[in-house]
Assembly symmetry: C2
C-alpha cells in the first residue's frame, strides 16, 4: 500500500467548522503532523482537530520555519521532508493540519511545494478561512454586487499597505498584531475605521470581538486576530 | 418556542465540503428555503445539501431577485419576507441555503439585511468559498507571504476591472461567464494569463478544469466558473 499525504484545513477555531471531508480524513489518519513555528509552542490546529483523532493515531510535532526557499532548503526543511517521506515510504496516511484554509497564507503552501514532486499522492482539503467565519459571526458581509474584496497581510511594506487600503472598499487585514498601531492609523486616514471590526481567536476559548479599533491597545492584539473593514458609505 | 433563521453556506459543490455545523443545522431544519434567481431554474444549493435533509422537512422554492434596495423593497422581496416571517411566527427552524460562503457575493446578504431587524434570531454558518476549493483541487496557492489576494467580480465597469487586474499579483475572478472574452484579454495584457486556471462546477457533475484560458470559447463558460490567476513570476 502506498503512502498518501493530506493537507487538511481545520478552519479558524470551532471544531464544528471542519468540513465533513476533513473530519473523515482526520479520523482515518495514521500520522497527524501538528505544525508549529519557532515562536508558538502549542499547535492550535491540533487542538481544533482533537475531537476527531482516533486513539491509535501517532501525533508528530514538527517545527516549520516561516521562511522557505524552494531551491535551497534549510536543514530544518530538509529534516521535515525526510521525516514525512519516511512515513510515506511505510505506506502511512499522513495528515498535515493547517489553520483556516491550506492554500491561503499558510505554511502548508511550502509543505505542498516541498512534496509535490516526491511521487506520492497529495490531497488538499479546503478549510473555512477565518474571515468567512468572522463575517458570519458578527453579521458583516464581506463583499456584494460589483465590489472587490482585498485580502491583505499587513506585514507588507508601508507604502504598498497604504496603497491597497486606500484603494479597497472591502478589506480583510491579516497578521495585524505585528503593526497594529500603524494599521489603525491607515484605516482612519482611508475612511474605513467607522466600519471595522477585529475578532481574535474566532471560535476558540478567549475569543474577543472589538468594534472600536481605536480603543484597543497594541498589547491586547492576539496573534490570531483578523480585521474586517469597509469604507464608510459602503453597507 | 420561538422561530430561528439560519443562513447556511453549502460550499461550491461536493456535499462533503459542508461543515459539520452546517450539516447539523440542515438535519434539524423544519423548513429549507431553496433560493433561485429568475434565470436559473434549479437550486444547486439544494442539490448539494440533499444528502442531509430529514424526510419530514418542507422545502420551499423561492425566487429572489438579484437586485435589492433595503429602503424600498420590491413586491417580490416583500412577499419573500412575509413567507419567511410566517414560518418564524410558527416557531419553525428555517434554513436558507446558499452556495459557497453566505457573506461573500451571495443573495443571502440581502436576505440577512431583510430580516436582521425582524426580532427573530439569525445565525449564519460559513461555507467553503469556491476559490478555496479550486485552489486545493488544482494545487494552486491563492496567496502567500506578503502578497495581496484580490477577489473581483468581473461585472465591474471596464476601467475599474482593468485597474484591479493590473494592480493585483493574485486574483480570484468571479462571474466570468458574463464577459469572458474581455476578461481573458485583460489577463493577457496584465501578464497573468500564463498562470491562470478556470474551474467550472467544482465538485459538481460536469466539473471542468481549463488550464489554457485562451483556448476556451465563450459558450463553454458555465455560470458557476471561477478563475484563479497569478502574475507571471509569482509562484
Amino acid at each position: 500500500m502506498s503512502g498518501i499525504f493530506y493537507g487538511v484545513g481545520v478552519g479558524p477555531g470551532d471544531p464544528e467548522l471542519l468540513t465533513v471531508k476533513a473530519v473523515n480524513v482526520i479520523k482515518e489518519a495514521d500520522i497527524i503532523i501538528a505544525p508549529r513555528t519557532e515562536k508558538i509552542e502549542k499547535s492550535t490546529a491540533l487542538k481544533i482537530a482533537s475531537p476527531y483523532l482516533k486513539d491509535s493515531v501517532e501525533v508528530v510535532h514538527l517545527v516549520f520555519p516561516m521562511v522557505f526557499h524552494e531551491d535551497v532548503l534549510t536543514d530544518a526543511w530538509e529534516e521535515n521532508k525526510r521525516i514525512i517521506l519516511d512515513f510515506l515510504t511505510q505506506g502511512k496516511k499522513v495528515v498535515f493540519l493547517t489553520l483556516g484554509d491550506p492554500m491561503l497564507f499558510s505554511t502548508y503552501i511550502y509543505v505542498f511545494k516541498l512534496l509535490k514532486d516526491s511521487g506520492y499522492p497529495i490531497k488538499t482539503i479546503p478549510g473555512i478561512p477565518a474571515f468567512c467565519a468572522i463575517a458570519s459571526h458578527v453579521g458583516m458581509p464581506l463583499a456584494e454586487g460589483n465590489q472587490v474584496l482585498s485580502i491583505v497581510p499587513t506585514t507588507k511594506d508601508e507604502k504598498a499597505l497604504e496603497d491597497v487600503i486606500n484603494k479597497s472598499d472591502n478589506l480583510v487585514l491579516m497578521k495585524v498584531y505585528k503593526n497594529y498601531v500603524q494599521v489603525v492609523e491607515k484605516l482612519k486616514e482611508s475612511g474605513h475605521i467607522a466600519n471595522s471590526v477585529m475578532v481574535s481567536r474566532c471560535g476558540l476559548d478567549n475569543e474577543e470581538i472589538f468594534t472600536n479599533l481605536e480603543n484597543v491597545k497594541k498589547q491586547q492584539v492576539n496573534y490570531l486576530s483578523t480585521v474586517l473593514a469597509k469604507r464608510s458609505g459602503e453597507k
